[in-house]
């Protein structure tokens, strides 16, 4: 069985009336032989299934993720970092004057599209278990 991309389910008749429930990420069915890994400059990080049982591995993964964030932040100018912080805050929180629930779900979808692009650009990808 291959990797099934995460699906976004939204209210099935969004124009027909108010939402009956929230939008969800619906995880793919359990696939014990397929796990997500992260491609890093140093190679592929260890498989996720051992993280919780191996503190050293967990620590290494945490440090690698943190390192990536710091190096990326260093590559930006102060103005770019400031504007990114503002952009992050302008997302879901950014429309205090809008009571339009549909617009808010559209914003959620926009953010999920960004996440999908991360997958498409190979930042995160499925790997077979060893």
């Amino acid at each position: 069985m291959g990797f099934q991309p995460t699906r976004l389910l939204k209210h099935d008749t969004p124009k027909a009336g108010p939402h009956k429930g929230p939008a969800f990420f619906v995880p793919p069915p359990a696939q014990p032989h397929v796990r997500l890994a992260k491609r890093t400059p140093g190679g592929i990080l260890p498989a996720m299934t051992d993280w919780q049982s191996d503190p050293a591995t967990l620590r290494a993964v945490q440090e690698e993720i943190y390192r990536g964030k710091v190096l990326r932040a260093r590559s930006l100018t102060e103005t770019q970092r400031l504007d990114e912080a503002l952009e992050l805050s302008n997302g879901i929180y950014g429309s205090p004057g809008s009571a339009d629930e549909e617009a808010r779900w559209d914003e959620v979808e926009r953010r999920l599209r960004i996440l999908r692009r991360l997958h498409e650009h190979n930042l995160y990808f499925p790997v077979e278990a060893a």
Binding site: Y66, K69, V70, R81, A85, L86, S89, Y93, P96
Partner: protein
Amino acid sequence: MTLFQLAVRMVEALETEAIPHLLTGAIAVGVYGLPRGTKDIDIVVSLQTRGLLQRLEQRLAGIVTFDPQITFETLTGSLRHIVKSNTRPPFTIELFELSGDPFVQTRFARKCRKFSAQLGCDIWLPTPEDVVVQKIRWGRSKDLDDARDVLAVQTLTALDMRYIEHWCAQHVTLDRLHAVIASIPADLR
């Protein structure tokens, strides 16, 4: 109106009323550390007279409501004014009056001006060293994370560590500072 359009209105009002001010909190951390989202804005203001606050309130009438209840921040002795936008849901700007606390005074005197393309204006921010000292002083978990991020992004060699250590010694928070530094991967320090 977005949260930061609200911030622009506040900053413009402060500039118009010639009220010296300084943006702190997540905005400052975003500039010097790892950008992150926020749902409120913290601003330190130097009010020469109480009337300035009333003029500020009048200038922003219809946009925000000033909470009549003023709170007292025990660590630095600052008075805090809660300002909520007249939107649904409301967003918060916290105005901290400049207190006589020596570090707060020094941080305010060292503030520097930065341009934001998103806001379309200049804003006043603390220096990265002052962000670290303040965050270490607060000492909550998220504050220590913020301090670590600023130290890691700016690097210990680029920051004025003597200045940071001086104030941490004054605040008896040197142990906290050293623990935060130790939590940064060695190659990022």
